[in-house]
C-alpha cells in the first residue's frame, strides 16, 4: 500500500513540473459536462481511446454534471491552462451569456476538435395519447400547460427546441428539468414526462426496441438511421427557416494554453476522430461527423451562437439580449 501512496504522491508532484515541450507528461483529465450514458458522454468515451493511442497517455474522464453544464465549464476554466484538463462538452456554453448563467462561452476556450453534430428528434412515452407530431400539437393546444416535456434545464437542447416550437406554434407545455438527456429519457419511460426533444443518437436504441415512440425528426430530411420518422417540415413548413439546427459535441482547452500543446492535442484528436470505428459509430447513431478545429471550428461556433442566441432571446427565454455581448443578428 505504501508503494501506491508514494506513487500517487510522485504523480501529483509531477503535475506541477510538467513542461509543454514533452506534453503530455502525465495522464489527462477529461471533464464531461453531461451525465453518464447521455449523448455527450457516449461520444467522448468512444473517441477517447483512439486519441489516447495518439497521445500515449490516458484521458481520465469524469462526469461533472449540473447547471446546464456550467459547473464543468466553470471548473475547467479554473484549472491551469496547461492542456491537461479537457472540457468535453456540448453546445450549451454558447448560450450561457444570453441565459444569464455565466460569463463564459467558447470564446474563452480553444476548440481542439468539434467532433460531430446531432439531429434532434421528438420522442414520446409509448403510452402517450399521440402518435405523430401533429397529434402532439393538437393535444397540447387542447390541454395548454398540462403536457410535461422532459428537459435538461434552461439552455439545454430540449429547451431550445421547445423555444423554436413555441415561436412558430401555439405550444404551451411544462418543462421538467433532469440531469441530462439520459436520465430524462429514463424518466420518460417511467411516465414522469410525456414527451421530449432529444438527440437522435441517445434515443435510437430505445426507439428501435419499441420502448419509446418517435413523433418527428427536427430536420428538413429523414435520417437513414430512422427512415420512418417524419421530418417536421413535412407538416409544418414554417420551421424550414430555422433548420438545420442541432447540438454539437466538442473538446476544448482554455484559450491561454501554449500553442505547441494545442497543436499536439489538435493532431491527436484529428487522427483519433478519423478512426474508422469511431466514424462508423457516429453514423450508426445518426450523428454527422465534423472533425474540425481552430479557426474553422471557431467560425462554426460563432455562427451557431448568433443563430441560436437570437432564437432563444426572441422566444422570451433569454435573460439578456445577445446585443449586450456583441453577438450579431444572423
Amino acid at each position: 500500500m505504501l508503494k501506491t501512496l508514494v506513487g500517487a504522491f510522485a504523480l501529483s508532484m509531477a503535475a506541477s513540473f510538467a513542461m509543454a515541450n514533452d506534453f503530455p507528461k502525465q495522464d489527462l483529465q477529461g471533464v464531461i459536462q453531461w451525465g453518464a450514458g447521455g449523448s455527450t458522454d457516449l461520444v467522448m468515451r468512444s473517441v477517447a481511446p483512439h486519441v489516447e493511442k495518439e497521445l500515449g497517455r490516458s484521458i481520465v474522464m469524469t462526469n461533472k454534471t449540473g447547471g446546464v453544464g456550467v459547473i464543468a465549464t466553470q471548473f475547467v476554466s479554473t484549472q491551469p491552462a496547461d492542456g491537461y484538463t479537457l472540457l468535453m462538452s456540448a453546445e450549451n456554453p454558447q448560450l450561457y451569456k444570453v441565459m444569464g448563467l455565466s460569463n463564459l462561452d467558447y470564446s474563452n476556450f480553444y476548440p481542439v476538435n468539434v467532433l460531430a453534430r446531432g439531429v434532434p428528434i421528438i420522442v414520446a412515452n409509448k403510452d402517450a395519447p399521440f402518435n405523430t407530431f401533429k397529434e402532439l400539437v393538437d393535444y397540447v393546444q387542447k390541454n395548454p400547460g398540462k403536457v410535461r416535456m422532459g428537459s435538461t434545464g434552461p439552455g439545454g437542447l430540449p429547451s431550445v427546441v421547445g423555444a423554436m416550437l413555441s415561436s412558430k406554434l401555439d405550444f404551451k407545455v411544462t418543462a421538467v428539468p433532469f440531469d441530462g438527456d439520459g436520465p430524462a429519457l429514463t424518466a420518460m419511460q417511467g411516465g414522469a414526462v410525456e414527451f421530449m426533444p432529444a438527440v437522435l443518437g441517445a434515443a435510437v436504441e430505445h426507439v428501435k426496441a419499441g420502448r419509446i415512440k418517435v413523433l418527428a425528426i427536427f430536420d428538413k430530411q429523414a435520417s437513414p438511421v430512422l427512415p420512418d420518422a417524419r421530418p417536421i417540415t413535412a407538416d409544418y413548413p414554417q420551421f424550414e427557416s430555422l433548420l438545420p439546427w442541432g447540438p454539437f459535441f466538442g473538446v476544448f482547452v482554455k484559450s491561454e494554453t501554449p500553442d505547441d500543446v494545442k497543436a499536439k492535442l489538435v493532431a491527436a484528436f484529428k487522427k483519433g476522430a478519423n478512426n474508422e470505428a469511431f466514424q462508423k459509430l457516429l453514423s450508426d447513431r445518426g450523428y454527422v461527423s465534423m472533425n474540425m478545429s481552430g479557426d474553422e471550428a471557431n467560425s462554426f461556433l460563432k455562427k451557431w451562437q448568433s443563430t441560436t442566441s437570437w432564437i432563444v432571446y426572441d422566444a422570451g427565454m433569454g435573460k439578456k439580449s445577445p446585443e449586450e455581448f456583441g453577438i450579431p443578428k444572423p
Binding site: T4, E52, V60, G153, V176, G182, T186, Q189, A192, A277
Partner: protein, 506 residues
Amino acid sequence: MEALTYLFSSWIQPDLLFLTALGAFAGIYIGAIPGLSVTMAVSILISFTFSWEVNPALALMNGIFMGGVYGGSRTAILLNIPGAPAAIATSLDGYPMAKKGEAGQAIGLSTVMSFIGGLVGIVVLALAAPAISEFAIKFQPRDYMLIAVMGILLVGALSGESLAKGVFAGAFGILLGTVGLDPMTAEQRFTFGSVSLMNGISSIALMIGMFGVSEALLQLHHLNAQAVKQKIDRIVPLWGDIKRHLSLTLQSSGIGVIIGALPGTGGDIAALMAYDHAKRITKNPDVPFGEGAKEGLIAPESANNAAVGGAYIPMLTLGIPGDAVTAVIIGALFIHGLNPGPLLLLEKPDMFWFTVGNLVLADIFMLIFGLTGIRIFTKIIECPKAVLFPLILLLSVVGAYSINNSVADVWWMLGFGVFGYFMKLYGYQVAPVILGIILSRLMDDNWRRAIISERESLPDFVLGILTSPLSATLLGIIVFVLFTQTRWWKRRFGAAPTSLDAVKSN
C-alpha cells in the same frame, strides 16, 4: 444449455479467470484507499482495455467493481476512514470493534457478509432482472424525494446521545449540500462569488475529514495509551454466527438490490438504509449499536455488495445505468461495438449470462482475497500512534487530493477534520452530516422536479402521492417509521429500550 456455456465461460478460460482475480484483488485495494474510487478505476480501464476483446475487458471491470465496493470496509474498520461513501455505515460499528481488539473478526465478518450480499444481488439479477428493471424505472421524481426523506429519517439511528444534536448535524449536512451552482437553474447558492465554491463541497473530502482526521485528532488525547492488542485467533466467522444473522443478511441484501437497481441511487444510500433497518429490527443486540454490534456491520456490508448486482439490472436489460460505475461500463460496451440498450438482452443474451457468471466468480475471488492477509492488516492498528497518525493524515491528504486533483479539496478535508473533532468533543455525531450532504441533492432536485411536474400545485402533488400505489407505499413506510418512534408505540410494543437514539433524547 447455451446459456450455461456462457455462464461458466469465465470459469474455465484461464485468461478470464486470471483477469477476474486480478480485478477483484486490485479492486479491494483501490476501494480501500479513500478518494480512489471504483468509478475512476473502471474509467481508466476503458482506455486501457480498448484493444482487447470485450469479455476480458468486462472480466477485469467486474472484478474491480465487486472488490472495490467491498474494499471500502477495510479502512473503515481499521482507521475509521471509509474507503468510499458506501462504507460509511460500516465504520459506525466496525471501528469500535477494532478499538476493542476485534479488527480481525470484524474484517472476517464483513468479508463473508459482502460475499453473501454480492451473491444475493447476482441471483436476483439472474432470475428477476426484467421485472425489477421495469419496476425501477417506474419511480417518479416524487418517489425519489420520498426515498430521500426516508434517508433523512436515518438521522435518528445515527445521532448517538442526543437526537437534537443529530438533527442539527443532519441539517448542517443538507445545507452544505446546497452550496454551489443550483443544478436546475445554475443560479449561485452560498458561493459568495467564489469560483472554488461554485463546484460545491465534495462529499468525499468531507467524509475523509470528518471520519479520518477528526478521529486521529481525538486519539491524540490518549497518546500514551497502549495500542490494543488485536485478537487474531478467529478470523473466519463461525457458521453458527452466520446462520443466526442470515435473516438480517437477506433482508439487507434485498434493500441493497432494490436501491442499487434504481437509476438515481446507489450503494451508499443502500448501506445506510440497511444499517437503520438492522437497528430497528434487532431487539437485543449482544453489544449496543455504535459500540461494535455485529448487526451494524452485517447489514451495510451485505447491502452495498448486493447493490452491485442491483446496478447491473437496468443496465443489462434496458441500457440504463444503475449507478456511476455501470454508466462507465455502458460506455465500455459501446466502444467495443455493442449497442447497450433494451435490445442487448435479445440480440446478445450471451452478454447477460457471461456477466452473471463472471460476477459470481468475482464475488468468490473477493471472498478469497478478503480473508487472506487480514493478520498483516490488523497489525496496522497495533503500531505506535506516533507512526499511525501521521500515516492516517498522509492517507487522508492523498485521498482528498485524488478525488478531483484539487488542492481545494485537501483544505476542505482538513477544515472538516478539525470541525469534526470539535463536534465529537461536544457530543455531536459526524455521520448525520455526511448523510445530509449525500441526500441533499437527491431531495432538492426531485422535490423541485415533482412540484414543477404538478405545475407548482401542492394539492395536486399530495394527490399524486396518495393515488400512486408506489408513492403511497413509500409514504406509508415513512409514517410507520415515525410512528414507531413515538412514546406511545414504545410503551405498548417496545421491548426494553435497546438503541441509544430517541429513547435517551426524550
